[in-house]
């Protein structure tokens, strides 16, 4: 592409653009006419400055590499409002998820929390660790005091299936 981002002097990478669009199954999901409806309603805009319309436009222009190594793609709260309301049936959510997958593949700038979540699942079989709960009356409960059954560590077969699934995804 014959353009340069003069603010960062970055040039678009056409190869990664092509590869990425193939992964999205064509341009349908980035078929955006910049009406701002997604950004107006974005849950992560006010706190984390995620602008879905910018992501779609940057992908179209070929700045995929910059996006894959950026922090901003990890800000999406996956509320899916943008998917539901987009008048052009584009989907910033799906684009962001694809960018996250690309970032994992490239081992680029993946937030620690996400990596922790993976090892957490591998070790315990659940996404969030079992925690103690404090009520308004400052009483502390855990599973044992609530007489809930213990959660066992996952079987080895689960771990191998999970790892295999992760590899296949890539």
């Amino acid at each position: 592409m014959s353009l340069i981002d003069l603010m960062s002097m970055a040039k678009p990478n056409l190869k990664s653009r092509e590869k990425f669009l193939a992964r999205l199954g064509g341009t349908e999901l980035v078929n955006c006419f910049q009406c701002m409806k997604c950004t107006s309603g974005c849950t992560s805009l006010k706190l984390l400055e995620l602008k879905p319309h910018e992501i779609t436009k940057l992908v179209r222009l070929g700045f995929v590499d910059e996006l894959a190594s950026s922090d901003i793609i990890w800000a999406c709260a996956t509320c899916l409002k943008c998917v539901q309301r987009c008048p052009q049936k584009a989907s910033p959510y799906h684009v962001i998820m694809a960018l996250r997958n690309l970032a994992v593949e490239r081992e680029a700038n993946v937030p620690e929390a996400y990596l922790k979540a993976v090892s957490q699942i591998l070790e315990t079989g659940v996404t969030a660790p079992v925690q103690k709960v404090t009520t308004k009356k400052m009483e502390v409960f855990d599973r044992e005091s609530l007489k809930l059954p213990k959660i066992n560590a996952p079987k080895e077969s689960f771990q191998s299936t999970f790892l295999k699934a992760l590899e296949e995804k890539q």
């Binding site: 006419f33 910049q34 009406c35 701002m36 409806k37 997604c38 950004t39 107006s40 309603g41 974005c42 805009l45 006010k46 602008k51 319309h53 409002k81 309301r85 008048p87 052009q88 049936k89």
Partner: protein, 666 residues
């Protein structure tokens, strides 16, 4: 032996950019009976046409093949060319190398060239069997049916009537006027809609050449161009149109409240009422779903006060039949129902209204007397937010641009500014603002000068705060900031959408619909006023969203087209008609039952003392659709210009090539 001339057109680069025209010519020269083959940049140009004419004279050609664009585009042109050279115009075959070859195969030029060669082979095979034919002339009715009494129907009717044609204007509502009768002021001049519309409505009612049928629907159309037979049903008004003087005494005493249709249900009228303040004819109508007398045989207060003795509860629907030469469809469109789009809360929040409701609120004859107020509390709004592209440019609903939403909102924003004063805030949230017509950009400039805030971005949703007030977050792409806008009144720029009864209409009048759901014109650029069915014309928003200037222009155009068709009292018909071979006809009557034009008549004939039933095609009524020919089990019916011999020659030519390649023919 036939002497065939083959002419391959480049169509600039449309054909020659893909198909190797020289190879096609080379191939044509090798075909039997082809005397001459040429190619040229634009066959339809004068040079191209005279080239064909000179060759016909010089080489005594008796059959011509033109390989160019679709025959729908230029078959008539080349028929004239051939006829001027004293050759029967029906000895011409047009091979479509553009729409059916170079355009769809633009990325595979070699295969396209191969296909072009085969198409030319097939054309040459067919042209040899063509027979000279003469056009038929039939007489036509010199009157026109106009369906729909909005501004399009009104304009078309007046134009036709002024030109001396008898017009029958059918409107399904109790009054003419249509959508324009609901509008307050019109862009870009801000003249009031009623002031320019009502004189025309009165002209329609008074014109000696116009028969006005309100509260009437067309139920059946048969016949063909120049000779349509129309059946319409005039629904019961329960009020005698000739007696009612429009004094509205009945409305004053009627106890039953009914939502007012002309005010989009924002106010109430009574079960007996006059449709709108400017109604033509100014005659009351009883709503049978609400009237106590018609439902329970009670009340009857209106009868007591009516001095003209116009009320008649026994009135029955009346069936009317008449013959017309042409039909103008001006059936209009509907406004998008924004409750299909839950994020904007239309229907949930009282202060979110549609643009047509804003028109009623702003109109001096509307429910508020022209005062702009919030429906919820009746207070004038301190801030008004317009949201553009509701239901249009949206793949979930309608993909097209509604073409009026931007200008309607600009106008309404200006009206809001004028009526609410400088202290109110007016916002327009848009994606693209399209001000494309004459004087429209200047109108946009005028709105900017009136301190109307343009927000470059659409809100994701409308929300209500704890106190019930409305607000919305909008990201403006001009300043890259997220804005929170508090709105007392939200106006949605709903687009125009196809009528819900278009299915019925397209079946009734045999007109098709385009992908967007509107009625289809014969050609998007060159024949925008006609439907593909001969003698049926389109006017106004039934063909696609339009503003008033475009609607009026199209209506006048459609009227001129109808005048053009019918003025001589005679029309020429293509000689494409069905011919029955009486010896093969078994009298099974299948053709009679399939013919959509009632052109087949059954006659008894005596042969050797035995009476036999035989089908006969009435020449003037046959439209050459070919249904009977394909339905005839005995193969006794043939289509002129598409005889079995002619079509099979083409099929044979196509299958020969397939066979040579190792495939099986058919």
């Amino acid at each position: 032996m036939a002497k065939v001339g083959v002419y391959v057109c480049h169509c600039g680069l449309n054909i020659a950019g893909v198909v190797d025209v020289e190879k096609v010519v080379e191939h044509a020269e090798s075909l039997p009976d082809v005397a001459i083959a040429k190619h040229y940049a634009y066959m339809c140009s004068e040079t191209g046409q005279s080239m064909i004419q000179e060759d016909i004279k010089k080489h005594n050609l008796d059959r011509i093949v033109v390989a160019a664009c679709s025959p729908r585009m230029h078959e008539e042109t080349f028929r004239k060319t051939v006829a001027e050279a004293r050759l029967n115009p029906y000895l011409l075959e047009v091979v479509n190398l553009r729409e059916q070859c170079s355009w769809p195969h633009s990325d595979e030029p070699e295969n396209a060239t191969e296909k072009a060669r085969e198409l030319v082979t097939m054309g040459v095979a067919r042209v040899k069997f063509l027979e000279p034919l003469e056009k038929r002339r039939i007489s036509v009715e010199k009157n026109v049916l106009v369906v729909g009494g909005g501004i399009a129907g009104i304009q078309a009717s007046l134009d036709l009537a002024d030109a001396g044609f008898k017009v029958c204007l059918v409107e399904k509502a109790p009054s003419i006027g249509g959508r324009m009768a609901q509008l307050d002021k019109t862009f870009p001049t801000l003249d009031c809609s009623a002031c320019i519309l009502t004189p025309k409505m009165v002209d329609v009612a008074k014109h000696p050449n116009i028969e006005l049928l309100t509260n009437t629907e067309v139920t059946c159309v048969s016949g063909f161009v120049g000779n349509y037979e129309v059946t319409a049903v005039k629904k019961s008004r329960y009020v005698d149109e000739d007696r009612c003087i429009g004094c509205e005494l009945c409305t004053q005493v009627c106890p039953v409240k009914v939502p007012d249709k002309i005010n989009e249900g924002l106010s109430e009228t009574r079960a007996i009422s006059i449709y709108s303040p400017h109604a033509v004819p100014k005659v009351a109508i009883i709503n049978p779903t609400y009237c106590l007398r018609l439902k329970y045989n009670a009340c009857g207060k209106c009868v007591d006060v009516c001095e003209a003795k116009a009320i008649n509860f026994e009135q029955q629907p009346k069936t009317i039949q008449f013959k017309v030469g042409g039909i103008i469809l001006a059936v209009g469109s509907e406004v998008f129902d924004a409750s299909k789009m839950p994020e904007f809360g239309y229907g949930r929040f009282k202060n979110v209204i549609s643009n047509i409701e804003f028109e009623r609120i702003s109109d001096a004859s509307g429910p508020t007397g022209g005062k702009i107020i919030c429906p919820q509390n009746g207070e004038p709004p301190k801030s008004v937010v317009f949201i553009q592209c509701v239901g249009s440019r949206d793949k979930r609903f309608h993909e097209y641009c509604c073409r009026v939403g931007c200008m309607v909102s600009l106008k309404q924003a200006i009206l809001a500014r004028e009526k609410l004063g400088r202290n109110a805030d007016v916002y327009i949230c848009f994606n693209d603002l399209r001000a494309f017509g004459k004087g429209y950009e200047e109108f946009y400039e005028r709105a900017r000068g009136l301190d109307i805030n343009f927000i470059a971005g659409l809100p994701s949703d409308i929300r209500s705060a704890a106190d019930g007030s409305l607000y919305s977050d909008v990201y403006d792409r001009g300043i890259n900031k997220l804005l929170e806008i508090h709105a007392d009144l939200v106006v949605l720029a709903n687009g125009l959408v196809p009528n819900s009864d278009f299915d019925k209409i397209s079946e009734l009048f045999r007109v098709s619909r385009s992908a967007d759901g509107f009625l289809l014109e014969a050609h998007p650029k060159l024949r925008p006023l006609e439907s593909p069915t001969a003698g049926i014309f389109l006017a106004g928003t039934c063909q696609g969203p339009k503003d008033i200037p475009d609607t009026v222009a199209q209506a006048s155009g459609a009227a001129s087209k109808a005048i053009d068709l019918l003025s001589s009292g005679e029309i020429e018909l293509e000689p494409l008609r069905a011919v029955v071979n009486k010896d093969s006809c078994s009298g099974c009557r299948i053709c009679e039952s399939v013919c959509p034009y009632n052109a087949v008549e059954m006659k008894t004939e005596e042969i050797n003392g035995v009476e036999n039933l035989r089908a006969e095609v009435v020449e003037a009524m046959c439209q050459g659709c070919g249904l009977c020919a394909s339905a005839c089990p005995a193969g006794a019916i043939e289509m002129q210009h598409y005889t079995d011999e002619q079509v099979l020659a083409q099929v044979y030519a196509a299958s020969l090539k397939t066979e040579a390649r190792g495939g099986s023919p058919i």
